[in-house]
């Protein structure tokens, strides 16, 4: 004899899931994920960390300089937009939000660039410079170096990449460069709906290379020197690294509690002198599709003054 509760349970389970929205194109979604999975596997198979860094450098150095350029000194003083609106939306939180907001301000995109975030972004950069060089910069400059759809070879899902290059002038006369990047998707346009991202994970990706993650979803990236590793506050999850070989691969795992665990893997390359900020984050589009990206900030330090 059936327990009435079991019948009620059956009915309840069906009711509970019956109103889930249908629609969309699940096959397109799955094939996009399959493509990303293949890319990830290829990258990992060929030394994903090295490729991630190489791609980061490639994006950071890619063309289109001068779309908008302004000097931001002292920190937090925003310039007037020097180019036409791009109609894009930034993604990310923490440093990324602030920097992306700063990008938006630079390129004159629609409202959404709170001055405090912009100031925070510059302050973060300034703090990163101070932490990695031991000196407070005299001034900071920012330049939008890249602001266009990414080629399919880099990102097959059609997002627009933004790269801003910061440069700090140090009292010693040296300069520190930081290349930061974010992604956005077109807002408006024929047949396109605004594609606002909701950031799910509050982390601070600065250079976004999708899919270059470990088997468990952890980012795997190149770090130059384990010996000088320092980890800043968990909220911005910034790793400041200065040094040269042995150039280990940094396997950075988010434990889910706001704590990063770090594991060093065999080095894929040598002679890197830079600092990285690493993170993984997930964004959800208005179409309901979530995307997970790996982010890295590359701070090129040349030459490197000794910490005071």
């Amino acid at each position: 004899v059936n327990d009435p509760f079991e019948d009620t349970l059956r009915e309840g389970l069906r009711d509970a899931s019956t109103d889930l929205p249908e629609g969309g194109d699940p096959y397109a979604r799955v094939t996009t994920a399959i493509t990303a999975d293949r890319r990830r596997r290829r990258a990992l198979g060929a030394g994903g960390a090295a490729l991630a860094l190489a791609a980061a450098v490639a994006i950071g150095g890619a063309v289109q300089r001068g779309m908008a350029s302004a000097e931001l000194t002292p920190a937090g003083q925003a310039p007037e937009p020097t180019s036409t609106p791009t109609g894009t939306f930034e993604v990310g939180l923490g440093s990324l939000v602030s920097i992306a907001s700063c990008i938006d301000r630079l390129v004159g995109s629609p409202p959404g660039c709170p001055p405090e975030l912009e100031a925070t972004g510059l302050a973060n950069f300034e703090a990163a410079v101070a932490a990695t060089t031991g000196t407070t910069p005299d001034s900071i400059e920012a330049e939008v170096a890249f602001n266009q759809p990414l080629p399919a070879s880099v990102l097959p899902t059609g997002e627009t990449g933004h790269v801003v290059i910061y440069q700090a002038s140090l009292p010693s006369g040296k300069h520190v460069r930081a290349t930061d990047a974010s992604l956005s998707t077109p807002a408006g346009g024929a047949g396109l709906s605004p594609y606002l991202y909701e950031v799910v994970s509050p982390v601070a990706p600065l250079l976004i290379i999708p899919g270059e993650v470990g088997a468990d979803g952890s980012p795997i990236l190149v770090a130059p020197d384990a010996a000088t590793l320092s980890v800043a506050a968990p909220e911005n999850r910034h790793l400041a690294l200065i040094g040269e070989a042995p150039d280990p691969v940094l396997d950075l795992r988010d434990t889910g509690e706001g704590v990063w665990s770090v594991q060093w893997l065999p080095p894929p390359q040598t002679n890197v002198r830079s600092a990285l900020s690493l993170a993984t984050f997930t964004v959800t589009g208005t179409d309901g599709i979530k995307h997970t990206f790996t982010g890295a900030e590359l701070l090129d330090l040349e030459p490197i003054p000794p910490p005071s």
Binding site: T8, E11, G12, S17, L20, P26
Partner: protein, 182 residues
Amino acid sequence: MGLTAAKEDDFRRFVETHWHALVRTAFLLVGDHGRAEDLVQQVLVSVHRRWAQIESTGTPTGYVRAALVNQSISNSRRNRVKETLFGGLSSSERGSLPQGFDREPRDAYRGIENRDVLLRALLDLPPRMRAVVVLRYFEDLTEAATAQALGMSVGSVKSQTSRGLHRLREHLTATMGEGSLR
């Protein structure tokens, strides 16, 4: 390496035909629509790599369903992201009655009208026990089929089912009051 065009077409039809049903099952396993879709996507990406073999079994639906529940259990073990059906509410908040649930208990119980209460109860079960309940009472699988899908013995399915029902009844009774789930 990709599939042949014909196999890819078969896979596309499978996805388009079964996506929503799989998402419904996944929803009951994870309690969130977005995460349910992610879970289904994750499984289908894996399935695609072995689609030719899976399809050749003649029962791809059963295989994918089993992969779905097992992946759900595996993800739960990793617990990289806590299940947050109710958007991070505290346990005390989760324990409170939902809005609009001030009707007579018997009316409320009938048919378990309040899906939130049921989902809360379901998500309070351990992942494997939850999977057993979903396969038995949502997918209507037999005990033997459930055991096969989850790679466990029929005896384990029986005991997990019994304990799962007991815990669900306790939870629902505590939330909704005595006498509603008869």
